[in-house]
C-alpha cells in the first residue's frame, strides 16, 4: 500500500502543480489545497503504514500493546493540516484583496504591481 500511496502522492503533486501554473488565481488556490494534501500524505506514508491500530495506550497498560501506528508523523501531519489551512485561508484573503484592488484574477495582468522596466 505504501507504493500505491506513493504513486497517488505523485499524481496529486502533478495535478497540484498543473493547477498552480494556471494564470487563474482560483485554480492556483485549488492547486494549493491539493499540494498540501499531497505533502501531508507523503509525511504520513514515510512513517510506514500499520492498519487499524491507533497509537493509544489502553487503560491499565504502561505501553501500547502490540504494534501500533507510528505516532510521530501523525503529530506532524496534524499540525501541518491546521497550518496548511491557515496558509490557504491567508492566500484566499490575499486573492480577494487583490481582486478588489486590481479587478482581475489573471496573474499575467497583475504585473502592474511590479515595475515594468529597470530603473
Amino acid at each position: 500500500m505504501e507504493v500505491l500511496l506513493s504513486c497517488l502522492v505523485g499524481m496529486l503533486v502533478a495535478a497540484a502543480i498543473y493547477l498552480m501554473l494556471s494564470r487563474d488565481l482560483l485554480r492556483f488556490l485549488f492547486g494549493l489545497i491539493l499540494i498540501s494534501n499531497a505533502a501531508n500524505l507523503a509525511i504520513f506514508v514515510s512513517g510506514r503504514l500499520i492498519t487499524g491500530a491507533p497509537p493509544l495506550i489502553e487503560e491499565g497498560q504502561d505501553f501500547p500493546v502490540g504494534e501500533v501506528a507510528n505516532a510521530l508523523p501523525q503529530a506532524l501531519v496534524l499540525t501541518a493540516i491546521v497550518i496548511g489551512f491557515g496558509l490557504f485561508a491567508f492566500a484566499l484573503t490575499l486573492t480577494l484583496r487583490a481582486y478588489r484592488t486590481l479587478g482581475t484574477l489573471d496573474t499575467s495582468e497583475m504585473r502592474v504591481a511590479e515595475p515594468k522596466d529597470p530603473s
Binding site: 505504501e2 504513486c7 495535478a15 502543480i17 497509537p55 489551512f85 490557504f88
Partner: protein, 757 residues
C-alpha cells in the same frame, strides 16, 4: 569639510561632559594596562576566561602578553589623547556626543580585538572595528565623498573579514580549539597540515585588507574623508594595525615557511615603496600622512615576514615609533587646518612665528619619523636595516627598498613638519594662531615620548619590546638590543646614506612631484577599478533580480519547481537509489475505492471550468485522504482533516460570492508544456517516496515516545502527548503561525479599502 569649524560654537555642558567621559574611560583603560606592565615585563602573561557559547567552543577569554599589552597601551593611551583633542576639535559640532560614542565603541572593539584569546571572539571584535570605523569615516555623512569612502573601507575590510572567518573556522577544525594560547603550541602540526596553505591565504586576505597592503591599499587614503582626529586614531595605532596585529599574533602558528616569507616580503616591500612615492607626490597634508601610513604598514609586514630576532625587534620597535609620531603628526595636520583653514602644503609657510609650540612638536615628531638621532625613530631605522639585512629572502633587495622608502619618508616628514612652519609666508584663509592646550597636549606628549624613548630606550625595551618579540616569535628568538650608538657598521652607513638622499630629494621635491604625477597617469587606478567592480556587482544584481523576480507568478513557480526537479530528480538518477516499482501485496477493495475516490476528485478539480464542481472534487480528495488516515490508525489526524475540509468548503463558498467565475483555459498558451512539467515532478516525487518507503526506517523517536508517553507524561494518546508535551515548544511555534495567519488575514480584509480600478 571636517575641520570647517572656523568659529567653534561654545559646546553645551552636556556635550562637553560626553567628551570628558570618553577621555576618562580611555585614561582609565590606559592606567589599568599600565598596571600590567610589571608582570608582563617580567615575562608573565595574564588571562581571563568566561564561557560564552560553550556549545560552539566560543569563550570570552582575554589574554595579555607583550604584544597585546603594547597594542592595548597604544590604543588606550593615544585614544585618551585623541579624545582630549577631539573635545576641542569638534566643539560645537552638531553630533558631538555621537562622535564620542563612536570613538569609544571603536576603542573598545579594538581593545577586545588585541586582547581576545579566542579566535572567534577576536573575529567578532575584528568586525566591530570595521563597523565602528565605517561610522567614524562616514561621520560627515552629508558628504557623498565621505559616505563613499566609508562604504569602501567597510566593504574591503569586511570582505577580508569574511575570508578571515573562513580561515578561523578551518584552523579551529585543524587544531581542535579556538583558543589562541592552545593553537600557538600546535604551530608545527598546522604548518604540516594539508590545509595550511588555504588557512594562510584566508588569514592573509583578512590581514592585508585590514592593513591596506597592495592591492587592497586604495581604501586607506580615501578614508581621510574622516575628521582628522579619526584619522589620527585609526591610522596610527589602531584600525590599520589590526592586520599587523593578526599577522604578529599568528606568527608562531603560521610563519617560518617559504610561502609566508615570500608573500609577506613581496606585499610589504611593494606596498612600502609604492606608498612612499605616492606620499611625496601629494599636496594635502593628510594625504601625505595617509600614504606614509601605508608605507609603515608595508614595512611592518615586511619585517613580520622574517623570523630573525632583528626583524621582529625592528617590527615591534617601528610599531611603537610609528604610532607615536603618526598620531602626533595627524593631530598637527588638524591643528594647521584648524588654524589656517587649509591643508595644502603649497599654500602654507612661515607658521612658526604664530604657532611656536605646534612647530616644536611637529619638529620633534618629524625628526623621529625621518629617523634622526637621538629619537626613537633613529633606533627604529637602525633596527630596520639590521632586520632587512637579516631577512632570509633577498636581504639586499629588501634593504634597498627599505632605504629608498626611508629616504622618501624623510622627504614626507620635511613636507609635513618643516615647510608649513618655516619656508616663506603665504596668505591663508584664516589668520594663523596657536592652538588651545587640548589640541596641543596630544602632539606634544607623543613627540616628547618619541625623543625620551630614543634617549633612554630601556624605558620600552624591557617592559614592552622584549615580551612583544617573545610573543611574536613564540619565545624562540632573541630580541635585539635597542641602541643609539652601536659603532660604525653597515646599518649606520645606510642611515647616513638615507639622510643624505632624503635631504637631496627634498631639495628637488617639486620636480620629483611633477615626474611622479606624469608616472601615475600611466598606472591603472585601483580606486576607479573598485568603482567598476561595484558597478558591475550592482548591474549583476539588477540583472539577476530581473530574471528571478519577473513579477509573473508562473515564472516564480517554474523556477521553484524546476529547482526541485533538477535537485531531487538529478540526485535520484545520480545515486541510482530508485530501484523501480516493487510488488504491491495485500491490496484490498477498500484501498482501491479510496484511491480511486481521490483520483476522481483530483481529475474533476483539474479539468472542470466550474467552481462548484472543483470544490466538490476537492471535497472528495479531502475525504479520501481522511479515509486513509482512518484505515491506517490515525483517528486524530482524520478528524482534523475532516474538520478542516469542512472549513475549506465554507471559506470557498463565502469567497466565491465575491470572485468572478472561472474562465475556460483554452485561451491560455503553454498549458501542454505545464502539464508535461507537472507530470515530470509528480513522477520524481512518486519515485522518491517509493525509494524512501522501501528503505529502512529509524523508529528511535517513536519508540521513545511510545515508551514514555504514559510512564513520564501521564497520557494515553501518544499523538496528543507529542503535541502538547514532548514537542510542546514546536507546537507553540505552530499555533503562533496559525494565530498570525488568522490575524493577518483579518487585517488584510479589515484594512484600509482601495477601490477597484
Amino acid at each position: 569639510m571636517a575641520a570647517a569649524q572656523d568659529t567653534p560654537l561654545p559646546s553645551s555642558p552636556g556635550q562637553a561632559l560626553a567628551g570628558w567621559i570618553a577621555v576618562l574611560i580611555a585614561s582609565a583603560f590606559f592606567v589599568g594596562f599600565w598596571q600590567a606592565l610589571g608582570p608582563v615585563g617580567a615575562g608573565g602573561s595574564l588571562r581571563w576566561s568566561w564561557d560564552w557559547v560553550p556549545s560552539l567552543g566560543i569563550s570570552l577569554s582575554f589574554f595579555v602578553d607583550g604584544l597585546s599589552l603594547t597594542f592595548a597601551l597604544l590604543i588606550s593611551g593615544i585614544g585618551a589623547l585623541v579624545m582630549l583633542y577631539s573635545t576641542k576639535y569638534l566643539a560645537g559640532h552638531k553630533h558631538f556626543a555621537r562622535f564620542f560614542v563612536y570613538l569609544t565603541l571603536f576603542m573598545m572593539a579594538m581593545l577586545g580585538l588585541v586582547l581576545s584569546d579566542n579566535l572567534l571572539s577576536l573575529f567578532v571584535f575584528w568586525e566591530l572595528t570595521s563597523i565602528t570605523s565605517y561610522l567614524l569615516i562616514g561621520f560627515t555623512h552629508t558628504s557623498p565623498e565621505s559616505r563613499r569612502s566609508a562604504l569602501q573601507a567597510l566593504l574591503v575590510t569586511g570582505g577580508g573579514g569574511l575570508a578571515l572567518l573562513a580561515g578561523i573556522i578551518l584552523i579551529g577544525w585543524v587544531a581542535g580549539t579556538y583558543e589562541l594560547s592552545e593553537i600557538r603550541a600546535q604551530g608545527d602540526m598546522i604548518r604540516e597540515h594539508g590545509l595550511y596553505l588555504t588557512i594562510l591565504v584566508l588569514f592573509l586576505l583578512g590581514a592585508f585588507t585590514k592593513s591596506a597592503q597592495i592591492p587592497f591599499h586604495f581604501w586607506l587614503p580615501n578614508a581621510m574623508a574622516a575628521p582628522t582626529p579619526v584619522s589620527a586614531y585609526l591610522h596610527s595605532a589602531t584600525m590599520v594595525k589590526a592586520g599587523i596585529y593578526l599577522m604578529a599574533r599568528m606568527h608562531p602558528t603560521l610563519a617560518e615557511t617559504d610561502v609566508w616569507l615570500w608573500t609577506l616580503t613581496i606585499a610589504g616591500t611593494s606596498t612600502a615603496v609604492f606608498a612612499s612615492f605616492m606620499a611625496v607626490k601629494q599636496t594635502d597634508l593628510k594625504q601625505i600622512l595617509a600614504y606614509t601610513t601605508l608605507m609603515a604598514l608595508g614595512t611592518l609586514t615586511l619585517f613580520l615576514a622574517a623570523d630573525t630576532g632583528y626583524a621582529i625587534t625592528a617590527a615591534m620597535t617601528f610599531l611603537i615609533v610609528h604610532s607615536l609620531y603618526k598620531a602626533a603628526l595627524f593631530m598637527i595636520a588638524g591643528i594647521i587646518d584648524h588654524s589656517t583653514g587649509t591643508r595644502e602644503i603649497d599654500r602654507l609657510g612661515g607658521l612658526a612665528k604664530a604657532m611656536p609650540i605646534t612647530t616644536a612638536a611637529a619638529a620633534l615628531a618629524a625628526l623621529s619619523m625621518a629617523g634622526f638621532p637621538p629619537f626613537l625613530g633613529f633606533i627604529g631605522k637602525e633596527l630596520k636595516y639590521y632586520g632587512a639585512l637579516a631577512v632570509q629572502s633577498e636581504p639586499l633587495l629588501v634593504a634597498g627598498a627599505v632605504l629608498l622608502a626611508n629616504a622618501l619618508m624623510l622627504v614626507a616628514a620635511g613636507l609635513v613638519a618643516f615647510r608649513p612652519f618655516w619656508r616663506g609666508t603665504y596668505a591663508t584663509p584664516t589668520v594663523p594662531h596657536e592652538a588651545p592646550w587640548q589640541l596641543l597636549a596630544g602632539p606634544v606628549i607623543l613627540a616628547i615620548l618619541g625623543a625620551l624613548f630614543g634617549i633612554n630606550s630601556d624605558l620600552i625595551a624591557t617592559p614592552l619590546i622584549k615580551p612583544g618579540v617573545d610573543a611574536i616569535s613564540g619565545g624562540e628568538l632573541i630580541p635585539a638590543d635597542l641602541k643609539l650608538w652601536a659603532g660604525v657598521n653597515l646599518p649606520l652607513i645606510l642611515s647616513a646614506v638615507t639622510i643624505t638622499l632624503g635631504i637631496a630629494l627634498l631639495m628637488v621635491h617639486r620636480r620629483m612631484r611633477a615626474f611622479l604625477d606624469a608616472m601615475e597617469t600611466r598606472l591603472p587606478s585601483f580606486d576607479r577599478g573598485w568603482d567598476r567592480f561595484l558597478d558591475g556587482t550592482k548591474a549583476f544584481a539588477v540583472w539577476q533580480t530581473r530574471v528571478l523576480q519577473s513579477g509573473d507568478m508562473r515564472q516564480y513557480l517554474y523556477v521553484i519547481f524546476a529547482t526541485l526537479l533538477v535537485a531531487v530528480g538529478g540526485t535520484l538518477i545520480w545515486t541510482g537509489a530508485f530501484q523501480g516499482i516493487p510488488e504491491m501485496p495485500g491490496l484490498q477493495v477498500k484501498h482501491w475505492v479510496v484511491v480511486l475516490l481521490i483520483i476522481a476528485g483530483t481529475a474533476l478539480t483539474t479539468i472542470t471550468n466550474s467552481r462548484i464542481t472543483a470544490i466538490a472534487g476537492l471535497g472528495a480528495v479531502g475525504i479520501g485522504v481522511a479515509l486513509i488516515f482512518i484505515i491506517y490508525g490515525a483517528p486524530d489526524v482524520a478528524i482534523t482533516q475532516l474538520l478542516v475540509e469542512t472549513l475549506v468548503v465554507v471559506l470557498f463558498a463565502v469567497a466565491a460570492l465575491r470572485l468572478p467565475v472561472m474562465k475556460p483555459e483554452d485561451g491560455f498558451p503553454n498549458r501542454k508544456l505545464d502539464a508535461l512539467f507537472a507530470t515530470a515532478i509528480g513522477l520524481v516525487v512518486a519515485a522518491i517516496l517509493i525509494t524512501v518507503t522501501t528503505g529502512p526506517i529509524n523508529r528511535r523517536l517513536t519508540d521513545y515516545f511510545e515508551a514514555s508517553s504514559w510512564i513520564d507524561a501521564y497520557g494515553r494518546n501518544i499523538v496528543n502527548v507529542i503535541l502538547v508535551d514532548f514537542r510542546a515548544m514546536d507546537t507553540f511555534g505552530e499555533i503562533a503561525v496559525v494565530a498570525v495567519a488568522g490575524i493577518a488575514a483579518w487585517a488584510i480584509l479589515k484594512g484600509p479599502k482601495e477601490d477597484a480600478k
